[in-house]
């Protein structure tokens, strides 16, 4: 029997997709500039089905890609031409939620926000909150080590994953980590997080839950320049405060957000959102200090949310910023570089210069607290050559981030989009070590082939391309 026949024998009718019209939605992720036609898509509903599918791929040497909601912005869930897509959306059950233990055990297709919803009645929540949290899955979050506005204080997904059940590319099922916050032995669960599906498929994930903060204090400050807003962030840090979130939007992003959701933001060159959170007595004291710091930072206008509704209004504009930018331009690329916080000003200035040089507008929305930039490069895909120019500009921004001592990605992953830039950040030996690990766990190179590692699968000897 051939691969497809065996696959069809494993799954009930309707859960193996092979017709052109059925495959089309799976041809790309949220980075729609890349498209590949898979051989088939399977829709498993149970762990054992995923394991069987992976084993079948291994036997036949067919590459496979696990897929959550396909919201990756770096082509992470782009299919391999002629390969299998294992779409995990139907594995969306929260298997166990134990408020006393403060853990949730979930299937990989559970949507991020659903975990916090389920935990809410117990006063708990799941801290990592990518802007895509209403749609992206925990499996995708795990693969990408996803983040959000709260990473400085709470860390990224890796810190919130206690245990994983994984099927390796060779079809073996292993449990990594445990249910306690502490473990012994190598932190293999921690290592799996962020490997972008190259080392296997997560079948079941144990998450740590946190008590929902008791009080919030949300402040919006307007500035006459991006630089002044950036400096304010440094001043907040220097004061010894540790806010839950610090976000900046530039004028273009503010305009877009206003046009889209009418958040009622002040007119300004830059807006800074600072949110303190914690026990009410502590937040009260911190708020006094924050007021002083912001006053000294030269803010032209300061608003403080007096109610939960006002707090939500402040966040609404920020959260809508990405999609809102779509109103300003037919197409845009979301970039995701990181710089040391103290070099934000320098980075933004250079991005402004590059924007001029390339003749393309760049809107800036970013997680200022952790130096995570999200420049949105606006372009019109219908104009010949503009996409290429936009990609080139985005690439320049990434190289700039690495040059300043930062990273190619804070949360969106390397995928196919950024793998060409990996040698900017990592030395040959570093990349070869990643390849050796990949090779050892996946000798046939089947799991998410062609992602992350710039040379993988391109030559007879992995790594040859760096020589």
């Amino acid at each position: 029997m051939g691969f497809l026949e065996e696959l069809k024998a494993l799954f009930p009718p309707g859960r193996v997709l092979t017709r052109e019209a059925e495959l089309a939605p799976y041809e790309s992720d949220a980075l729609t500039a890349y498209r590949k036609r898979p051989l088939a898509v399977v829709l498993p509903e149970r762990k054992a089905e995923v394991v069987e599918a992976v084993r079948l791929c291994h036997r036949h040497g067919v590459p496979f890609v696990a897929r959550g909601s396909g919201t990756s912005l770096s082509g992470g869930s782009l299919p391999v031409e002629g390969g299998l897509v294992i779409a995990l959306n139907r594995m969306n059950r929260i298997l166990r939620l134990d408020p006393k233990a403060r853990i949730a055990v979930v299937e990989p297709g559970v949507v991020n926000l659903e975990v916090s919803r389920a935990a809410a009645p117990y006063g708990l929540y799941y801290a990592p909150d990518p802007s895509s949290q209403p749609i992206s899955t925990i499996g995708g979050n795990v693969a990408f080590n996803s983040g959000g506005a709260h990473c400085l204080k709470y860390g990224m997904t890796a810190g919130h994953v206690l245990a994983l059940e994984v099927v390796t590319p060779e079809g073996e099922v292993v449990r990594l980590g445990g249910e306690s916050l502490e473990g012994v032995g190598p932190d293999l669960a921690g290592f799996f997080v962020g490997t972008e599906g190259l080392l296997g498929v997560a079948l079941e994930i144990t998450l740590r839950l946190l008590p929902k903060p008791e009080a919030y204090h949300t402040l919006l400050a307007a500035y006459g320049s991006l630089e002044a807003a950036g400096n304010a962030v440094s001043q907040v840090i220097q004061s010894g405060l540790l806010p839950g979130a610090m976000e900046i939007m530039d004028r273009l992003a503010i305009e877009a957000a206003e046009a889209a959701v009418k958040a009622g933001y002040p007119q300004a060159e830059a807006l800074l959102i600072v949110e303190l959170e914690g026990p009410k007595e502590e937040v009260e004291e911190e708020a006094k200090l924050l007021a002083q710091v912001i006053q000294e930072s030269g803010a032209t206008e300061v608003r403080i949310a007096q109610s939960e509704a006002e707090r939500q209004a402040i966040w609404k504009g920020r959260k809508a910023a990405f999609s809102a930018v779509g109103r300003l331009s037919p197409d845009y690329i979301v970039q995701d570089g990181v710089v040391p916080r103290s070099r934000l000003g320098e980075a933004l200035k250079e991005i402004g210069r590059l924007s001029q040089e390339y003749g393309l507008r760049v809107a800036n929305v970013f997680h200022a607290g952790d130096g995570n930039l999200h420049p949105l490069v606006l372009y019109d895909g219908k104009k010949p050559g503009e996409l290429e120019r936009a990609e080139e500009l985005a690439g320049e921004i990434l190289k700039l981030c690495v040059r300043l001592g930062g990273s190619l990605t804070g949360e969106h992953g390397i995928g196919v989009e950024k793998k060409g830039y990996m040698p900017e950040m990592f030395a040959t030996e570093d990349l070869l070590a990643m390849e050796r690990v990949k090779e050892a766990l996946d000798p046939k190179g089947l799991a998410n082939r062609g992602k992350v590692l710039p040379g993988y699968g391109q030559g007879p000897h992995p790594g040859e391309v760096y020589a």
Binding site: G178, P186, G240, S342, G371, A433
Partner: protein
């Protein structure tokens, strides 16, 4: 037993290429892990020390792996910062590399998380003498395979760590502690479980068997009084308030309570496991971090009991054939080990 000292990256590479089997040692505060076995050369890394970069406004530092934690903490403290995972055995000479390799966190891990939450990057020498870097030096980064997280608890299995980067946080302006006794373990446990799910932002929450809770708060002095009061109301007990609590918690994090015991172990715990653990013949002990982390002092009988019940644990001091129990899962661990240490120069596997 050959012994070699390395105080630079090149010397580490040289040592790795020279000796077929190596056992790295930082300060030696976890001798069950850092004492060479038959056929192993001791690689003394205590000379590989010094802070390489520290930018207080970034909340990030990079240091050589053999740097004593004491030195790091003093430097951080001068800028009002600290290692929030509060690593143990600082007074006994623990180094950054040894702490990562053993995967140890202390009582204040309760507030923001453990070692695994704060490590940002690593440079290490693999089993072939090659230098490999993973992670980075910024507080947020998702690029490439996270070799830095692989090092946590690795016992040196994948390579000799040379340089490590960490995130740090501002040290609380003031701290206060509350010690509350209960009549029975079950009552103390019930109170502990209640506190765990509330948004109280505790710096530390420890159960001292049989039935005492020790709770530490940090923050603005003005808020601490009110927060202590709230805790007392919640627990319906006055307890004992420690105003000068620093020395007490330093004793805890340096595991002073284990002093007399021949064997020291770390046991991943959970509140629901505590009644079972309390039934075992364990010596002096304390459940840290809301009951998630047990450090216990044992004699061989206690160790035997952990083994028989298949309770995961790591022996830090004292005689043990296999300090790590259980061994890591073969299907995932072995290939990674093979990739990074193909000749099996390093411990484990």
């Amino acid at each position: 037993m050959p012994e070699v000292r390395a105080s630079s990256l090149e010397e580490v590479q040289e040592a790795v290429r020279t000796y077929p089997r190596l056992r790295p040692k930082g300060g030696g505060s976890k001798p069950a892990l850092s004492t060479p076995k038959d056929g192993e050369a001791l690689l003394d890394l205590s000379g590989l020390r010094g802070i390489l970069e520290y930018a207080p406004e970034e909340f990030v530092f990079t240091a050589y792996a053999g740097t004593p934690l004491k030195e790091i903490e003093e430097t951080l403290r001068a800028h009002g910062q600290y290692l929030p995972f509060h690593p143990p055995l600082v007074e006994q000479g623990a180094t950054l590399g040894g702490t990562v390799a053993a995967g140890l966190s202390g009582p204040m891990r309760e507030r923001f998380g453990g070692l695994r939450d704060f490590i940002l990057g690593v440079r290490f020498v693999d089993g072939e003498g090659r230098v490999v870097r993973g992670g980075g030096k910024v507080v947020k980064n998702a690029a490439g395979f996270p070799f830095h997280r692989l090092m946590v608890g690795s016992l040196g299995a994948f390579g000799v760590m040379v340089e490590l980067s960490f995130k740090v946080f501002p040290y609380p302006r003031a701290t206060r502690s509350l010690r509350v006794g209960f009549a029975k373990t079950e009552e103390a446990l019930e109170a502990l479980e209640g506190l765990r799910t509330l948004p109280l932002d505790l710096l530390a929450l420890d159960l001292v068997p049989p039935a005492t809770l020790e709770i530490r708060l940090g923050g603005f002095p003005e808020s601490l009084e009110k927060r202590i009061q709230r805790l007392q109301d919640l627990l319906q007990r006055e307890g004992e308030v420690l105003l000068e609590d620093e020395a007490h918690w330093e004793g805890v994090r340096n595991l002073a309570f284990l002093k007399e015991s021949p064997i020291w172990v770390k046991v991943p715990s959970r509140p629901d496991l505590i009644p079972m653990l309390e039934g075992l013949p364990l010596g002096p002990r304390r459940y840290l971090a809301g009951g998630e982390l047990l450090y216990a002092g044992l004699d061989p009988e206690g160790l035997q009991a952990l083994r028989e019940r298949a309770i995961p644990h790591l022996v830090l001091r004292g005689k043990a054939d296999q300090p790590l129990h259980p061994p890591p899962p073969e299907a995932f661990f072995a290939p990674i080990k093979r990739a990074l240490d193909p000749r099996g120069r390093f411990p484990l596997g």
